[in-house]
Symmetry: C2
Subunit: 325 residues, 2 copies
């Protein structure tokens, strides 16, 4: 396997936690890894990991358009390594918009794909995660793009979570096909046509609502990138507020240790560091987008997912499943 | 005070829990109450509460358009009682779309209001709730409507939660004013004009993200009814999944009783029965929309909120704050 290119400069904890994660991925998973970043920042940390030198860093707050001018940035160089066949995948915990733009610029789209989408796994206690897409790549969408997101999300759910016939739902504000905005209503018509999901081996279960996302009634939830990002962030904020309140309330009791211990498996399920990150579906290569706050463990898990996606040949499967618009 | 008209037929637990809630509201709060519904379903339960007879019931799954043909339905009769000065407010746990349509049909809009919006309080542990609007009345919106939602939401936050200068945020997918879809970008321009919120005594804090909703960084979150409904339902589903998982994990321990006891105040904060329901802002009368699963306690709290809104003269205050489009 070609090495996985890990952006050493991306994320709140870069480069320290990222390089540590890369080292652990190489040691624990046995996957080949190459770091991408500034030698002065990484050389002292990288041990015997290889480094692709990149002199620039696109910051978390920079505009995604920076990829056009910062051609020697770690993100652009990482995507370039995949394009040039020097790496099998890229992983970054950096600026999401710029990661996406780098992948698009250097890897290009899979033939027939109108727009790539960010597929984010949402943890579901006691079940496989629900794949939400688009989680933020495209603030404005057309119905045919959403139909492609459904096709791609189904492939991802099968390859990543082993779901034989993924159930695909369309995010709306009521189960009836008459509910929603014009985008949803037009997309519903496309998804209800059996031909749309035939090549991805998925089943359309109709409209779903926000409350279904964290249940086991649906495997893939399709929406535009604005709504998807709002839903994802709302859920993250809600979980954070609730988990913190639970911890505060229990910590003040005499039974704190036992009670908190009993909740550890649940916290592990919800921990974003454990999910292995989101995947940008539709670009011509594997691109894993990790959370900005990624720890070393998050990077290990992202590398694990990258390897799984490479071994599953997910890009080839996406190519076969997507119907050109 | 004129009586509060309570729809005895609306909600999953109607008429039993609704009538019980109405009786408790009259007894515990000392507010005058009148029930609206079918005599054969309510007479045996209502004790000495007055009943406005209505022969029809709009079901939870019926289309909102049913209000045009079912003129003797409990919802339409309740709204009519407010219009005719026989009631000071209406409360229903029934079909949300039909409740809204009844209120619009019979009470009409406040002069200058383009579209009414559903304002839903989202609990924030340790702080006052965040008012989210529109939580589902209008799946498609124009920027000027959202500006009015901001004006109305600010009045509601002040009268309901005593917030002197409510902080109004615009829901988007990034804090920068350049982020979002066209609706958000155009609304941002309107809200950034100091004149827009001047009459409602509120302050625009710019774009907010989903993760801010359950924090104390913002008091009013403005969005279109599609996005708002998705955010609300996503949060409800996420909270339900997490609370259930916490209960399951702790129930299996030897310290279940103490641990769960310590979490009771938090559960009370999150319990939708405790919030008193949402309010339809922009119609010419007080209309409280309770959760479909409302218990008797939820109805008591809804009656309490209705009384507060009447006593605060919220409709007059909305009339003064809204700038016609």
């Amino acid at each position: 396997m070609l090495p996985i290119a890990i952006d050493a400069m991306g994320g709140d904890n870069a480069p320290g936690a990222i390089v540590e994660g890369a080292q652990r991925a190489a040691a624990e998973l046995g996957v080949p890894v190459v770091l991408v970043g500034r030698p002065d920042a990484v050389d002292a940390l990288r041990g015997d990991l290889e480094l692709v030198a990149a002199s620039q860093v696109i910051g978390m707050g920079d505009d995604a358009g920076a990829v056009r001018t910062m051609k020697d940035s770690s993100l652009v160089r990482a995507a370039e390594a995949v394009r040039d066949g020097r790496a099998s995948a890229m992983v970054s915990a950096g600026n999401t918009g710029a990661t996406m733009a780098s992948a698009l610029l250097r890897m290009g789209r899979i033939k027939g794909v109108s727009r790539p989408a960010i597929a984010t796994p949402i943890p579901v206690p006691g079940s496989t995660p629900t794949v939400l897409l688009d989680a933020g790549a495209n603030a404005e969408c057309q119905p045919a793009w959403l139909a492609q997101f459904a096709q791609m999300g189904a492939i991802f759910a099968r390859e990543r979570y082993g779901i034989a016939e993924p159930r695909v739902g369309l995010l709306s504000i009521g189960e009836e096909s008459s509910k929603g905005n014009p985008l949803v209503k037009e997309t519903h018509v496309l998804l209800a046509d059996p031909a749309t999901l035939q090549r991805s081996g998925a089943r359309f279960v109709g409209n779903v609502e926000g409350r279904d996302i964290m249940t086991d009634t649906v495997d893939v939830v399709v929406t535009d990138g604005f709504t998807g990002n709002v839903a994802l962030k709302t859920l993250e904020g809600g979980m954070r507020a609730l988990v913190r309140s639970v911890l505060d309330a229990l910590s003040a009791t005499a039974v704190a240790e036992e009670a908190l211990g009993a909740l550890m498996p649940l916290y592990a399920t919800l921990d974003p560091d454990g999910t292995g990150g989101a995947m940008l579906l539709g670009v011509d290569g594997v691109c894993i987008i990790s959370h900005g706050s990624s720890s070393a463990t998050a990077i290990v898990n992202a590398a694990r997912v990258a390897r799984e996606m490479i071994e599953a040949g997910v890009v080839e499967r996406l190519r076969a499943a997507v119907a050109p618009v």
